[in-house]
Symmetry: C2
Subunit: 534 residues, 2 copies
């Protein structure tokens, strides 16, 4: 099998020539907030990341994307009723304007959340000594805090509440420190919804989107009904290959392809679904350069960014010590596309699904002001904004209780948990899989192990199609009592030729470690049986 | 002013010729649930209204709408990964398939909601003696209830959780008792999102949607970027005029209009926004017949359905006694389109925004199985499902704590509160407005009073355009310290001729009764000043 892989973090060629100030730290956030004073933001209050960002002195402004926006996106106008909002500032004015219901009629007086108390994040510790976070209906108007149920449970603006936007803006600045001036964040109702909005902003029917050859099936299924197809870029163990992307774009023949040259790259740079591949810093720079060369807009889908794990040391070597501090943890993370995005050509999609819980249905995007404004105009006339109860939970947990330091501590704990899970599945693979037939790279991030199967050694290799053999192995595994996904399900380009390689995707995120062990044992039996080896 | 209007409920010609069994009652729900046994539905469990509906013996099946579905909607396919779900039934199978995170890592051990205890729904009573509803992480797997945070905070299916779908299905059956067999409910992330999905299912770029001449501005703004325009149907004090709708459709000239004949009617039948008009039962039957004649699909947008109020008795007459029972309350409600929809040509959109709280971002649609299936396919690749925290709140409040009886009691309390608010604004209008210039109909439902202004008596009527005079009055009102919406903001057809009548919309839902009184006094002063009368 391959040597242990860690994420290659430094050594990248910095595409920017400007000197950025040091990134924001958790201490810096505290100082900035103290200077700004108490956040005051009531029902459906206007907000923007601009209120919460650091100074952008000396940074360039983002490129404009007018030439890429679809007819649909270009024709979105702000609501005429919202124009009336300017008069709401008038002292003493009584509004009989907006149709917002009165909080008096919200049948919810108070909500509490029992959550972990840092640094004891385990379920057991939480059960025994978790913190109870409380939100009342009129806390903010009664001077007890800055966010209450009267605000969060009423209508809000498409961008999200100021209380949550402040947190995600600061977090994004700490993690990504975007190198251009006019970046902004907006909440989404999850990254799949955000991705659909992005397609509708950038793609007309008939367009192709570039993506990893094997990719997130929902990203493809969200695109297809819009008449938008995926075009495969070849991959290696660091994911997307910039040379192949360049080659595809250099040789794009609109007549032959029956489609204009692609404008969009969809990529999952870290712990890619399904391959588990993580692009190193140098790889990201190289891909960004190709994007610049061909003026490609990048959708950076990063649900697994904070599931970067400790370097894999192999079955019998001691573990690498965990990050000694939040700063060390942040420095160990692979640079994001947003962090090298000098042009403003990246929409980064962050998600709480893998690091807090999918049921929040809250994520956020970060992009240039122009793109975020178009995105928010769309949200306003579709989802409007994420659940107010979810926003309250995230505010109470992340901002009021944990703070940025506590949240980073949580993310470190998660990193160590996933490391343990990954090491379990790798140990099981070492023990149970026939290595002359099945091989794998230890994933450096994410939830997935990508198993490569040398199908050419299969007894039916000469008489059956690769997809038939894949199905046979899949069913043999089910028969042995393990469900594992067929690699071909993740092929993004539906009109591509039959694949030449065979893979299976196993996740170590969900089952208990005990069950993971048994599952791999069963897969080993199934593979041996199917290949007729011992 | 006009005589007091109540909603005309009976006297309708029943378009159906079949005899339906009596509608479901709250007692019937209890009996049905007892018979069905405990609901078992874990993480991302498949569900359908079919599990919870009564027998549909003798009812016809819904019409098929294949010929109306857009290319986008028709090309939605179920996820290939979801096909693997069938194997999950296999005893002892271990899944390394789906990428669902483990509930162990959800930093939420327990949540509580403090809510009103029926029948004491007031805020004061809730503060003093509200019920505390509790949900733990593993309640369901530990035998304590049927829904827990491990389920609700994980990924769910597009249709919504079984726990909430059961409640809304029963509620819909009690209220609407749809006269065809294969109706279904699906949760939405709010009616605006549901409406956008409906447009994308039924409308291609260039299409017109029929709607009330004055309509919900967001419904128009959601349609316009998709290239879908509104076409105005004239209205009277019961809203949409069926004769005008028929006339428009009979004479639709595709060449002249540069658009194919409309297929969709968007209507807000009850407490219409902005006019406050409510279609009576006879009116609904008449509109439904026109829809049948021209094969129009109806979007029934009903956020204000349960804001139907007590009949207005005038300033000096005694109030009508409140409904004596839940059954009497349900019988006093105007029949829904869904309740007369023998063809399955209605998508009803229900919302919790006006009756629970907008911040839940949960609503639901009811339509035929074919339409709901297409809708859910879209939800799966956009919003996925509503917030799990919101679903848990609604389940705990409506199902586990209040039950259907308690919820109907809440809706009666809301009815009486809105009646009081409406009576306040009407009393203020009687007292402060110049009746020879401003006139109105007492709304029977909803949040809005629609003030008609006889602009022809304005001193500038001969020299200025109607929109200029409207703006002058609007600004005069702002100057007096009251914000009230201009009627022209709600004109749905943007390419129509200049309006001939002038209106203003005032809401009595939000401000305190005291402020409503002052606001109308100020509007009276502004109107008198602008018209130069005393």
């Amino acid at each position: 099998m391959s040597p242990p892989s860690a994420i290659e973090v430094d050594g990248g060629i910095d595409a920017t020539s400007i000197t950025l100030p040091g990134p924001l730290t958790t201490k810096g956030v505290v100082a900035r907030r103290a200077k700004a004073g108490k956040l005051v933001a009531g029902t459906a209050a206007y907000t923007s990341s601009d209120y919460f960002k650091g100074p952008a002195t000396g940074r360039p402004k983002a490129k404009r994307w007018d030439h890429y926006l679809t007819l649909e996106s270009k024709s979105r106008n702000p609501s005429s009723l919202k124009a009336a909002a300017k008069y709401l500032q008038k002292p003493g004015l009584i509004s009989l304007g907006g149709g917002l219901p009165c909080a008096e009629y919200f049948p919810l007086e108070e909500v509490t959340f029992k959550v972990p108390t840092p640094p004891n994040f385990s379920e057991k510790a939480t059960k025994e000594s978790g913190s109870i976070l409380r939100a009342g209906k009129y806390d903010a108007s009664e001077g007890d805090g800055i966010y209450d149920l009267a605000i969060s449970m009423n209508y809000g603006l498409g961008v999200g509440s100021a209380q949550v936007i402040r947190f995600v803006t600061e977090h994004t600045e700490m993690v990504c420190n975007p190198p251009y001036q006019d970046w902004n964040c907006a909440l989404s109702v999850g990254s799949t919804a955000a991705l659909e909005q992005a397609y509708r902003m950038f793609c007309e029917r008939g367009d192709y989107v570039l993506a990893e050859e094997y990719t997130f099936a929902s990203a493809v299924e969200t695109a297809l009904p819009l008449g938008v197809k995926f075009f495969s870029i070849k991959m290696d163990d660091q994911g997307l290959l910039p040379e192949h992307m360049d080659e595809i774009l250099c040789n794009w023949d609109e007549v032959e392809r029956k489609a204009r040259k692609p404008r969009l790259l969809y990529t999952i740079p870290t712990g890619q679904n399904p391959t588990g591949a993580t692009q190193g810093a140098v790889r990201r720079q190289a891909i960004y350069k190709v994007a610049q060369k061909h003026d490609i807009y990048i959708i950076e889908d990063e649900p697994y960014y904070f599931l970067q794990m400790q370097p894999y040391t192999g079955p019998n070597a001691p573990d690498v010590p965990p990050p000694a501090s939040n700063e060390e943890f942040l420095q160990a993370l692979v640079p994001t596309y947003l962090s090298i995005d000098i042009d403003g050509r990246v929409m980064r999609m962050d998600s709480f699904s893998k690091v807090i819980a999918p049921g929040t249905r809250v994520g956020w995007i970060t992009a240039s002001a122009q793109i975020v404004e178009r995105f928010v105009r769309h949200s306003e006339s579709s989802s409007q904004n994420p659940s107010g109860l979810s926003q309250m939970f995230l505010y109470k947990l992340l901002d009021e209780s944990w703070g940025h330091d506590g949240y980073l501590g949580w993310l470190i704990a998660l990193r160590l948990s996933y490391t343990k899970r990954r090491d379990t599945i790798l140990a099981a693979c070492e023990k149970f899989l026939p290595k002359d037939i099945v091989s794998w790279n230890p994933p450096a991030a994410g939830m997935f192990l990508w198993l490569s199967v040398d199908w050419r050694r299969h007894p039916h290799a000469k008489t059956k199609r690769i997809l038939e053999i894949e199905e046979e192995i899949y069913l043999a595994a089910v028969n042995q009592g393990v469900l594992i996904c067929r690699g071909s399900w993740f092929l993004g380009q539906k009109d591509a030729e039959e694949p030449t390689d065979m893979f299976f995707r196993a996740t170590y995120a969900a089952a208990s470690e005990d069950k993971i062990f048994h599952a791999i044992e069963r897969f080993g039996i199934a593979a041996r049986e199917s290949f007729g080896v011992k």
